[in-house]
């Protein structure tokens, strides 16, 4: 009962702020609304008994990614001229397409039923969520984990290669 109440609060705020992200004119306001939305998603993770995910969401998304976005908005120095953005010429067909996709997805997602056998990640394991996840990351999932570390290195090198080169003569 309590849980449901909180779920509806988080979900409503997330959806409203997501709509604001794509509808306000000023990109800085968009970024702030996105932060609100991402924080609600972190709260949803807590409702799903995954405090570790919630912490990662806050640290990585809200802490790092959004700061990067705000930096980019400032570096690119979008003056007021850029705020007066009109919608695309193709916005009507695009919106219709998105609407059809939306209805189709919703219909199918509602009709689906879980048929798979349940696993062992049950309430007892959820109590030690962080420990269990950490153990799994360094045993069964060590291979994708290492690949992701290479991706992070690549992002570092790639971003520097693209942005810093202009300074050289």
């Amino acid at each position: 009962m309590f849980e449901q109440f909180f779920f509806y609060i988080f979900a409503t705020v997330a959806i409203v702020s997501a709509i604001c992200v794509i509808s306000v004119r000023n990109p800085v306001h968009s970024a702030v609304f996105l932060i609100v939305c991402l924080l609600q998603v972190a709260a949803i993770f807590v409702l799903l008994r995954s405090p570790f995910l919630a912490a990662a969401q806050v640290f990585i998304y809200v802490g790092a990614v959004m700061v990067l976005f705000l930096f980019a908005v400032m570096v690119l120095d979008m003056g007021k001229a850029h705020w007066k953005e009109h919608l695309h010429g193709q916005s009507a067909p695009a919106a219709v397409l998105a609407g059809i996709l939306f209805i189709l997805l919703g219909y199918m997602a509602l009709k689906g039923r879980m048929t798979a056998p349940l696993g062992t990640y049950n309430e007892a394991a959820l109590v030690k969520n962080t420990e269990v996840v950490g153990r799994a990351l360094f045993t069964k999932y060590i291979f994708p984990f290492e690949v992701v570390s290479v991706i992070l290195l690549l992002a570092l090198v790639g971003a520097i290669a693209l942005v810093m080169r202009e300074k050289r003569p």
């Binding site: 849980e3 919608l87 996709l101 992070l152």
Partner: protein, 99 residues
């Protein structure tokens, strides 16, 4: 609380994200809409993980959050490169190539 609640929330956010990518012209807002899409996917993965009682989904969310961070770094770097040569941040000003 059922799985369906979380899935509905997830597909609403997914729809908003796709609409943002298709409708907005400002590239930064397009990148933010992409973040909305990744978050909606993360919600559905975490919800499946909880209701299926399987760990894969949770681990997948952690990896996908990290990959999304790397993706944003690259995307903004490309955007800065475009801005330096074109002084443009709107999608329909990018019309150098046609055909």
């Amino acid at each position: 609380m059922t799985l369906t609640h979380y899935l509905i929330l997830s597909f609403i956010l997914f729809g908003i994200g796709v609409a943002g990518v298709l409708v907005r012209r400002n590239v930064i807002v397009v990148l933010m809409s992409l973040e909305l899409i990744f978050n909606s996917v993360n919600i559905s993965l975490a919800a499946f993980s909880y209701y299926l009682q399987s760990l894969n989904g949770t681990v997948f969310v952690i990896l996908s959050i990290t990959v999304a961070a790397a993706e944003v770094a690259i995307g903004l770097a490309i955007l800065v490169a475009v801005y330096r040569t074109r002084k443009a941040v709107n999608v329909d000003e990018l019309d150098e190539m046609k055909g």
